[in-house]
């Protein structure tokens, strides 16, 4: 049972990749990419968790309480920002792709076959 969080991370990584590979719509490709990335959130937070640990905020808890690791949370925070920005950039590209190619199927996005 203690492997469950890690297994979920593997599942998200692979199923997201499958979404990208089998996609017929660029928006699906991008959202699948977000799923791949969420694998890293789950993995990082699972690694930093300590049984019975409290969130690393010490406003009104006794100083001896077990705290979960704050470092992984910072990494995930950065990661979330990266996800938002990359998704925005890719969607902007897809909007333009649709203007140029008249399609968002990766099959049709092949300029060199003209």
């Amino acid at each position: 049972m203690s492997f469950l969080p890690y297994a979920v991370a593997v599942w998200l990584f692979i199923v997201g990749l499958y979404g990208v590979v089998s996609s017929r719509h660029m928006v699906r490709t991008i959202l699948s990419l977000a799923v791949v990335q969420s694998a890293t959130y789950v993995l990082l937070l699972a690694i930093g968790y300590r049984s019975g640990g409290q969130a690393p905020i010490v406003a009104d808890i006794p100083p001896t309480t077990t705290l979960v690791d704050p470092v992984v949370q910072v990494l995930v925070l950065t990661d979330v920002v990266i996800e938002a920005t990359v998704t925005a950039l890719l969607l902007a590209l897809v909007v333009q792709a649709h203007k140029r190619f008249g399609s968002v199927d990766p099959n049709d996005l092949r300029p060199l076959r003209d």
Partner: protein, 252 residues
């Protein structure tokens, strides 16, 4: 490759990669039994030095402030990228009808709700930004909530009012001032304490608003940038969706 060949290739490679990952992950400490030294040291250092009570924000804006600098510039670069990629092209027109187009079919009740939402969002956003070092949240989360306040107007069905309430120069300045401000706060450390990103303000009392050294300032700078950044990105996309039309074929 045909779709079938592609799926076959992935059908072999995907499980293979999964197996590799599982073999690697088996070496991880059992869930809940992590004893890394970094987090423990941080928990010890931070309260005693800066009197911040939210260690995550403390790491974000102090110990690993340089990462956050990189992160802010990733945001900045993507905003530049989105404006670049969604610029108005030669064969396109912008529609500026007097009423402004909103999302179709928003009822009066939704509009009223949205208008009530705006001040609430502003208050919440400011609170989250300012209390970054004390409670969950910080510049990023608060800044996004702040950006949502004018965006709620879209729900009220007046997209052009968003552009009046949050004109592009204001958004761009907020973003630029925030991004530059954060880098300059790092520079403040260089000037006042001779090390980049060295805290140069007193620590204050734990739990008070003006505590944790320069973290609240960092949080405000990031908040400003994130607010501006998301408003610019949203406007760029909504412009595309609601305003920009391709000229009809005859005109080209």
């Amino acid at each position: 490759m045909s779709r079938r060949a592609r799926l076959w290739l992935f059908g072999v490679a995907g499980p293979g990669l999964a197996a590799v990952l599982v073999i690697g992950f088996r070496g991880l400490p059992a869930f809940g039994h992590y004893h890394g030294v970094y987090g423990l040291v941080v928990n010890g250092v931070e309260l005693s030095m800066r009197h911040a009570t939210d260690y995550v924000t403390a790491l974000n804006f102090d110990l690993r402030a340089f990462d956050t600098l990189g992160e802010e510039y990733i945001l900045f670069a993507s905003v530049l990228g989105v404006t670049l990629l969604l610029r108005v092209m030669r064969e396109e027109d912008e529609e500026f009808s007097a009423a402004g187009r909103g999302l179709d079919g928003s009822s009066d009740a939704v509009r009223l709700l949205a208008l009530v939402l705006v001040p609430l969002l502003v208050a919440l956003g400011v609170y989250i930004v300012l209390h970054g070092a004390l409670t969950p949240g910080g510049g990023f989360q608060g800044g996004l909530v702040l950006a949502a306040a004018p965006a709620a107007l879209i729900l009220a069905g007046r997209y052009l009012e968003l552009k009046i309430l949050a004109p592009s120069w204001a958004m761009e300045s907020a973003e630029g001032i925030g991004a530059a401000g954060y880098a300059l706060l790092g520079l403040g450390g260089l000037i006042f304490a001779s090390v980049y990103f060295r805290n140069f303000l007193p620590a204050g009392n734990p739990g008070q608003l003006l505590s944790a050294g320069f973290m609240p300032l960092n949080s405000i700078a990031v908040g400003l940038e994130v607010m501006g950044a998301f408003l610019i990105v949203w406007t760029a996309f909504l412009d595309q969706a609601l305003l920009i039309r391709r000229r009809s074929l005859e005109a080209r």
